[in-house]
Amino acid sequence: MLSGIYGLLSASFFVAMDAVDVAFTEASVGAGISTLLMFLAITMTERRDHSVRHKPWLALIVVVVTGALLIYGTLDMPYFGSADAPIHVHVAPRYINDSMQEIGVINLVTSVLGSYRAFDTFGEVVVIFTAGVGVLALLSVSRRPENDAKIDALNVSMHEQHLILRIVIKILIPFILLFALYVQFHGDYGPGGGFQAGVIFAAAVILYSMLFGLSTARRVINQPLTQFIAALGVLLYGSVGVVSLLNGGNFFDYNVLSDDPVAGQHLGILLIEAGVGLTVASVMIIIFFNFQGRKEYGQGQAKGDV
């Protein structure tokens, strides 16, 4: 819970720092998804905390030394907020001054993300994809039908208690999805983009599944499909690069996608954002489903044992 608040706090901090995009992401991730996952994991393991802090002094020394080194390092740093710091005068001006001509996207973050450093973003998508696959490898269970039945029964009894909530959520979900789409395509103009949209989209699905039961949700969005979509996202992203390669440019050189470089950039960014969105959404869903699935599986087994 604390970490959720921490996430929200840092998000608002980012806003104060003029980093709206980052704030948006941190809000959805730090305060949303990761807290959710934490809770899930905690319920699956144990709440009690009877841990002993071993070797606290050693740890403290390490930490203090590291911290002192960092403070020492900051002494020569340019002052906070000063405009003539090296980072503001070397590479960045080009992004700020020229990207309108070169890319034509109002949100500078998006243009840097999608084009100048498209490869980083590509890496990012791959990272999240890796995490998805990793969680899948670790947690996926081969589902046995008799367990499913039990779980269903369990779920039904549970969910009848949340009738009002279910109705509210049912109404809300389409709006959330719509909002996700808006964020997805609005990335060019305001804060937003594929990643945030993906998370929001995933959040909608997760909400749904929390209230209506995992198996219900799985009936709507089944696992192979999400896996396929996750891969599709990466592929979409990658193929944008390949296409530009085939068109005679460098990898991720969107200029060649269209006759007009700016239009080409637009198209490229749009496509990769779509790829990011797809992958992120599906991976989030995969992760959540697997956590939840594992949990219910464990409960089912426990019940079966009793």
Partner: protein, 117 residues
């Protein structure tokens, strides 16, 4: 001079809190929480770098001359994703460890390991 750097120092303190939790705690989930704090504070550190006095969010608009540096924002977007990916994987591991060992306390696990081998 100190005023010019206070922001970084707060970040450092945050970082070290996270780092300490990672090292010193025996509970696997708490370790992960610590890790998240540690990472997030690094993000803040980057974002602080990007801030320019009097600047606004790097979205081009009319009449705005000074923008924050968009590059760190991009980097941190990526880093956040990396962070959540790591957390997810770590939690997944924790869940499995709980299943396999019946505990998520570092010392108990080590004890069990030693007794089996």
């Amino acid at each position: 001079m100190f005023l010019g750097l206070y922001n970084y120092w707060i970040v450092v303190v945050l970082m070290m809190i996270g780092f300490y939790i990672v090292i010193a705690h025996g509970n696997l989930i708490k370790k992960l929480v610590g890790l998240t704090i540690f990472q997030t504070s690094v993000f803040i550190f980057y974002i602080s770098m990007a801030k320019v006095n009097g600047g606004t969010a790097p979205i081009v608009g009319d009449g705005i001359e000074i923008y924050s540096n968009p590059l760190p924002h991009v980097l941190i977007l990526t880093a956040i994703v990396v962070g959540i990916a790591t957390t997810a994987l770590g939690l997944a591991l924790t869940v499995r460890i709980k299943e396999a060992y019946g505990s998520i306390e570092e010392e108990e696990i080590q004890k069990k390991d030693n007794s089996t081998c």
